[in-house]
């Protein structure tokens, strides 16, 4: 077995785990951050205030239409020329958050706008405020529509976190590159890396499916 060595994962277990744990941290931080940022941008896009609409639209259209690598490079290589130095981990996680937020904003906006206007009218007509209407009527219905799309974005986020390897972000992929340059066994090294990613993403996709099912039961 000159090209494939199963024992390699045990020989380099510490480095695999260091990367794995960092990737989990990056994913969780970016997941929470991009959800909050995405929700804010989505509300900007539908709020009854033109300047907010413009800002939200500009954010989404610019960020989601440029490569993730460039967003990360902006934080890692661009900001230092403005006097702001960030390490690979921070700039990579920031870039990932900012990038994913644009997709999440779109998913949330589409979900909210898929709710018929009659729902808002009925609620507002009984004297509920805009905020009460959002929290009691619109968002509980929108979340069901939005959930699969957001779940897919979270899976993408975990996979996209591998871009941190490019900026020395200490993630799973970064450590895999290190192990590979020591062992010259790329097939083994990257197969195991793929397995580590699957350990994260497969449960995530089942969690999304499970949540969808729960909401469907609550519905009927």
């Amino acid at each position: 077995m000159g090209n494939f060595d199963v024992m390699l994962v045990f020989d380099h277990w510490d480095r695999y785990m260091a990367g794995f744990i960092n990737t989990i941290q990056i994913s969780i931080i970016a997941l929470i951050g991009s959800f909050i940022l995405g929700a804010i941008i989505a509300i900007f896009r539908i709020a009854p205030l033109k300047p907010l609409n413009w800002f939200g639209t500009a954010y989404v259209e610019v960020i989601r239409n440029i490569p993730l690598l460039i967003v990360v490079f902006f934080f890692y290589l661009g900001l230092p020329s403005l006097g702001i130095e960030l390490d690979g981990f921070v700039s990579g996680t920031l870039g990932l958050t900012v990038y994913t937020a644009s997709f999440i904003a779109e998913a949330i906006r589409a979900g909210i706008q898929a709710i018929p206007t009659g729902q808002t009218e009925a609620a507002r007509a009984t004297g509920l405020s805009y905020l009460q209407t959002m929290t009691h009527i619109i968002l509980p219905q929108a979340i069901k529509i939005v959930l699969p799309a957001i779940g897919n974005q979270f899976i993408n986020l975990v996979k996209n976190s591998s871009i941190l390897a490019v900026v020395a972000g200490m993630d799973l992929m970064y450590y895999a590159d290190l192990i590979n340059s020591d062992t010259f066994l790329p097939l083994t090294v990257y197969t195991f890396v793929a397995l580590f990613y699957l350990v994260l993403t497969v449960p995530l996709s089942y969690a999304v499916l499970y949540m969808e099912k729960c909401f469907n039961i609550a519905d009927n």
Binding site: A122, S129, Q141, N220
Partner: protein, 243 residues
């Protein structure tokens, strides 16, 4: 109680309401009829400001609706509306559809809100469906829930926007019966947009006939259906009766 003065409304370049003058007194039942696209629903929806005026004055329950600074949520408590497509909240049970506004707007306790809700569900004849979801009800039942949801706030005015237009023919009767009983027994102020001419004739104190954004004729029910003054009202009625 409701007073339109020279009200105009535009949707973009489209002039939907033209110089509307209309007064509705307390306890009156006014039915608005006219061809599709004549502005009936828009006129009705101005009364609780689901539509804003382009110009003119509209005073409802002593509140000037043309004034942007009024507390609209406070104002809307006293006006119930029933829509053509029911607009029940599909993720909430029938009872929760009804108690939401009493709890969130009037700040009633849940138990008290439920008691009132059950009273009105009994009133519209579907108290046994209180813990079902709207999707498990027929169209007629859903619309009766919507009426109960409007009544539970004990409004001074009820608005009905084509309440039977989305219903199967065999369910129209049960909804009209409920509205009829409100008109006869409760003496509630009501404004109704409908295409049910027999019902309009029976329930209305006055008929408002609209066409192309204008009010062409306002008359008592017997005057209007007996001998409409306007030529266009006559053609409208004859078309409905002879189809």
């Amino acid at each position: 109680m409701i007073q339109f003065k020279k009200v105009n409304k535009y949707f973009g370049p489209f002039h939907v309401l033209k110089n509307i003058d209309l007064q509705i007194k307390e306890g009156e039942v006014v039915v608005i009829i006219g061809p599709s696209g004549s502005g009936k629903s828009t006129l009705l929806r101005c009364i609780n400001r689901l539509e804003t005026l382009s110009d003119g004055e509209l005073v409802v329950n002593d509140v000037p609706l043309h004034d942007k600074k009024i507390n609209i949520n406070q104002f809307r408590r006293d006006i119930g509306i029933v829509f053509q497509h029911f607009n029940l909240y599909p993720h909430k049970k029938v009872i929760d559809n009804i108690i939401l506004a009493p709890m969130k707007v009037q700040h009633l306790k849940k138990e008290d809100a439920k008691k009132t809700a059950m009273y009105y569900l009994k009133r519209v004849g579907i108290e046994d469906k209180a813990y079902n979801f709207p999707s498990q009800l027929s169209g007629g039942q859903q619309q009766r829930v919507a009426i109960a949801r409007g009544l539970v706030m004990n409004p001074k005015i009820m608005l009905f926007d084509e309440p039977t237009s989305a219903l199967d023919p065999e369910m129209i009767g049960e909804v009209l019966d409920v509205i009829r009983s409100l008109a006869h027994n409760d003496g509630m102020t009501m404004v109704i947009v409908t295409h049910e001419m027999g019902f309009a004739r029976e329930v209305a104190d006055r008929i408002v006939f609209m066409d192309e954004g204008q009010i062409l004729e306002v008359a008592t029910s017997s005057e209007f259906f007996g001998s409409p003054r306007e030529e266009r009202a006559r053609t409208f009625l004859s078309r409905l009766i002879n189809h």
